[in-house]
């Protein structure tokens, strides 16, 4: 009985740790910046990507029709366009209103102003765009949805937000914040483990040929192949390292001794993806999620807790 109670206490302590909300500040700031950059990066193509027949690359109606067949409750831009039409707004006007609201929600998240409302708005509008533009979405959209979903459920505002300063209130529900940080940590472990495992099952990561293919695959081919060829001996090492970093993530990110090293390795991997493949937004969202989940408290003891300056008592 005592053993059962002990396990239950351990599980509760693990899932609901009392933690500072520094991680939430990182998540809010990072996702705010990500949302702003997402909106700005699509400024010139917003209507082209999310419009309907006549103005768009591929009509939004197709993705929304397929989505409606599968699930009627998932938000989409078509809902907002329909609401806008009731007040006499054209589709383009509604789409631009969505873009402006998305940009503003990102900016207010960075500031920590109306944190909860901004997080919900950013999540909702981004999800609408991601689902209506399903044919033109990729990994960055999945991870933005994940991040914004956890952010809007977490106990906002955090202590560094403008909201907190204005209200002069203390962060509440630290155990709830700890819970959502734990869920994000476990979610990242699942993501990296299965991503790594799937890579291990492919032959091309062991001999490095997949790295060559990824780096020469349009539109990711921003490094000239003649430069890549000079580093060909390095590809098998790098390919195996990626498999090990991702598959080993759920173990080594939890061990105190290896957490800092693993976090640095993962961050380096994402920076390299951003720089060599031009996937800046994808890299940023992965860096933000990793930093929020694991950076607070993961610095090596010598860095985290510098030895105190010896107190010199005044000489009489």
């Amino acid at each position: 009985m005592n053993t059962l109670a002990g396990w239950r206490k351990r599980l509760t302590d693990f899932l609901f740790p009392d933690e500072s909300d520094e991680w939430l500040t990182l998540l809010r700031l990072g996702l705010g910046l990500q949302t702003v950059l997402y909106a700005l990066s699509l400024l010139n193509d917003w209507n082209y990507l999310f419009g309907t027949a006549g103005s768009a690359l591929i009509t939004r109606d197709l993705a929304e029709g397929l989505l409606a067949l599968e699930n009627r409750m998932v938000p989409r831009l078509g809902w907002l366009v329909a609401i806008g039409s009731h007040v006499g707004w054209q589709e383009q006007t509604v789409l631009w209103a969505v873009w402006i609201c998305l940009l503003c929600s990102g900016l207010t998240l960075v500031l920590g102003l109306f944190s909860r409302f901004s997080a919900v708005l950013a999540w909702f509008l981004h999800l609408c765009a991601a689902r209506s533009g399903a044919f033109v979405s990729y990994g960055v959209d999945d991870f933005m949805t994940i991040g914004l979903f956890y952010l809007m459920l977490s106990p906002l505002p955090d202590r560094y937000s403008v909201d907190c300063r204005l209200r002069k209130s203390q962060p509440r529900n630290e155990w709830l914040g700890g819970f959502f940080r734990r869920v994000l940590q476990l979610h990242l472990c699942l993501i990296y483990f299965f991503s790594g495992l799937t890579k291990c099952l492919g032959s091309g990561w062991w001999d490095g040929s997949n790295l060559w293919r990824a780096l020469t695959h349009p539109p990711f081919n921003i490094v000239p192949p003649e430069i890549l060829v000079r580093w060909k001996w390095f590809f098998p090492i790098l390919g195996i390292a990626i498999c090990l970093i991702e598959t080993g993530y759920p173990i080594f990110i939890w061990l105190k001794k290896t957490r800092f090293i693993w976090l640095m390795a993962v961050l380096t991997m994402h920076i390299a993806i951003g720089v060599t493949m031009g996937m800046y937004l994808f890299s940023l969202i992965m860096i933000v999620l990793n930093l929020a989940a694991y950076a607070p408290g993961s610095l090596p003891p010598k860095v985290a807790r510098p030895s105190p300056i010896p107190h010199l008592s005044p000489v009489d």
């Binding site: 990066s41 699942l190 492919g202 020469t216």
Partner: protein, 176 residues
């Protein structure tokens, strides 16, 4: 799913068990219910809201081939021009590549034709003088490092070609 579909280095004998595992996963996610079933709708909504309905096998098990779509434009004077779908920014360029991947990988002939027709309409808006158009979808075959060092460049394997004419606005698939 990848194992079940024999896309990995795992021996084929394991794929039978993987198929069973895939069935179990589908049952857990409510995919065995009808689409209108409330359980399936609720589960599907949660997965979409949380962003966890996508797989995490980016560039795995192997990096897939890319696709290239080229439109051959013919005007009334017999001039021929070539155009490719384009975007105004690098960020949208990544999304366009994702769209081409989905066009190339879909098993549905109708969906592929519909999407290519949509892209053809964009080109047509920019070139209203064009009378007929041929869309060619090809798979990009990248050279290996050794092939590249021997001077080989990427090549294209034609998968599908569609002919469009302004009069009928219909597509006719002419090759595979």
């Amino acid at each position: 799913m990848l194992v079940a579909h024999r896309l990995t280095i795992i021996p084929t004998g394991v794929s039978e068990y993987s198929q069973k595992a895939e069935n179990v996963a589908a049952a857990v996610l409510g995919l065995h219910f009808t689409r209108s079933n409330p359980v399936r709708q609720t589960l599907g909504s949660y997965l979409a809201f949380a962003g966890i309905d996508a797989g995490y096998g980016y560039f795995a098990p192997n990096v897939p081939s890319g696709y290239k779509l080229v439109f051959e434009l013919h005007d009334a004077d017999g001039h021929t021009e070539y155009r490719r779908p384009s975007a105004n920014s690098a960020a949208a360029g990544l999304r366009l590549a994702s769209l081409l991947d989905q066009i190339g990988r879909t098993d549905s002939d109708e969906l592929r034709e519909y999407m290519i027709k949509e892209l053809a309409a964009v080109i047509w808006r920019e070139h209203p003088e064009v009378k007929t158009m041929r869309a060619s979808l090809a798979q990009v075959v990248q050279p290996t490092i050794a092939d590249y060092e021997r001077g080989k460049a990427e090549r294209y394997e034609l998968l599908y070609a569609y002919d469009f004419s302004l009069a009928s606005e219909s597509a006719k698939r002419s090759g595979q």
